[in-house]
Symmetry: C2
Subunit: 341 residues, 2 copies
Amino acid sequence: MSTFDITEHSHRRFNQLLGEWVLVSPHRSKRPWQGQQETTEKDSRPAFDPTCYLCPGNVRANGEKNPDYPSTFVFVNDFAALQAESPSGSFEKQGLLRAESERGICKVICFSPRHDLTLSDMETTEIRKVVDLWQEQYLELGALEEIGYVQIFENKGSVMGSSNPHPHGQIWAQSSVPGEPAKETEQQEAYFQQHGRSLLSDYLALELEEKTRLVVENEHFVALVPFWAVWPFETIVIPRRHFGHLGQITDEEKDAYADTMKRLSSVYDKLFNTSFPYSAGIHQSPTDGKDYPGWHLHMHFYPPLLRSATVKKFMVGYELMADPQRDITPESAADRLRGLL
Amino acid sequence: MSTFDITEHSHRRFNQLLGEWVLVSPHRSKRPWQGQQETTEKDSRPAFDPTCYLCPGNVRANGEKNPDYPSTFVFVNDFAALQAESPSGSFEKQGLLRAESERGICKVICFSPRHDLTLSDMETTEIRKVVDLWQEQYLELGALEEIGYVQIFENKGSVMGSSNPHPHGQIWAQSSVPGEPAKETEQQEAYFQQHGRSLLSDYLALELEEKTRLVVENEHFVALVPFWAVWPFETIVIPRRHFGHLGQITDEEKDAYADTMKRLSSVYDKLFNTSFPYSAGIHQSPTDGKDYPGWHLHMHFYPPLLRSATVKKFMVGYELMADPQRDITPESAADRLRGLL
Ligand SMILES: O=P(O)(O)O[C@H]1O[C@H](CO)[C@@H](O)[C@H](O)[C@H]1O
Ligand SMILES: O=P(O)(O)O[C@H]1O[C@H](CO)[C@@H](O)[C@H](O)[C@H]1O
């Protein structure tokens, strides 16, 4: 019998940030696909769309008129999933039915007044303004008594549930710390307790040595396909310096962050020659007043496409009932992305 | 300020089986939808399709010819995610990169020779034969030395990644116990240690009292929308009697199981007047030789549709980065499903 080879044989990889496993089936990429094909977005959009509720000067669902904003624009979501005024309280029956009220604030962030752009089309100096706004919002929302966690994210492309192609992201800020960042807190703080260094500092150092999973680098940030990636072309963006949240980022690092975003999103667009869909999100330390010395800010990109602009990976039956599963190795995904630089 | 009301205010509910939370935003169902619309499956399929690799008598990718099967048919997946012959071994670097080889067997189960049916179209006596096969397969695979867990599931509809409309499900059997059943093991065994009864027995008793989340009932099984449902019209099918796996089900219970499947899938099809897509899966005790007195077999249905045959719920940005989120309450979902009985 041959020896175990992670480029060839089915195996599980351990996700250090979540403390969970992913099933990897390297040989399975040869599987033919006769299933659903996604439609690609039309690529000719006007710079201004009079029917778009995010374009400057247009009127939104709640009757408010957007200002004539020149760069970014933030407002409270007209259909927010979380409400600031929810009465507090809880519901419980025999310990088996348990609910707790949850307060929060949901905001929308327009990245640009231009309806026809995406982050990858924008100048690095314009993306830098988005980073500035993320920082400002994290600090402003995080400072509120009732906010324990701030989730900044972007759903890009209709296949990722975005209902408007105008370049925009969202922020959901809430009282409790949700499950994913809670797991990352546990893993990162435990690692820091044990080693006195952040999990992602040590992980990044190892990846910089190995090189096989790197995609984009500059002086302050690295984007790579994590060893435990779930989505086919998933990446994680990690600052070289260990800091927990956007309140601690320097001006120079903000420029480097914008540069990384620009280069990573451009590589993505080249991969299947399409405006590449994804959900992306920044994970940073909770704002619940506790100390988190182990937290190391990072950003995840979860793109659904697998083989082409129209064939995505489905996270369904086995994935929902058992464990995430992937068909190509993270190393081969990184290799393809790097080849497009 | 008004008092907390779970039918009105945003809140989190605790999933007893997983030990995790879901965010519920009851007020959000009014949100307009301008995003992606799914295409519905064409509803006129031939009873036999000469190009379908699951129809009786046709030749599959590996060159084998399907038998002229009269009811169900099972075979090893030609593009299996798990391989039985993977060499065992592990990979490790500085404790940060960790992989372990994983062996397993992936099978496909045809529910019927008829290309044009789904479970809801089949007679209860025919569905009973599917239950028989599930039982046989669980016992056969679970008895193998190298198999520690058997996941039986179905992806129905192209929106759930199914690449062939021929009525079929899958089985992925593997050495380790994957994440979802591992969490359920922890929750169920802890409850059993503490109370001497299964978590789902006590939960079911409470739901039968409350009635608001029930959907379909017979002498041996109940289908209901769990208090902690994630998907809009998610249900869980629970046997009234506490047993851990299909090796322990009685003949009468198998009939009742088939009856539940028939009625539940018919209600689903009526909801949006479409062949209702879903991923469904049976969770039962691991086959790793250990004792699991707390395990209570059950089946999950995770259907993606939210508002119509073409508008689904997207599990994207916030959901991937933070916590699952839903827009309608489980109680109102159950109410709508019950109204179609
Ligand atoms: O095995 P199939 O039907 O080809 O594939 C389908 O189910 C699998 C198990 O849930 C998933 O991994 C695939 O993404 C999905 O397309
Ligand atoms: O808020 P939007 O853009 O209307 O909605 C989108 O993002 C939300 C947050 O990830 C999801 O809950 C929705 O399912 C998705 O369609």
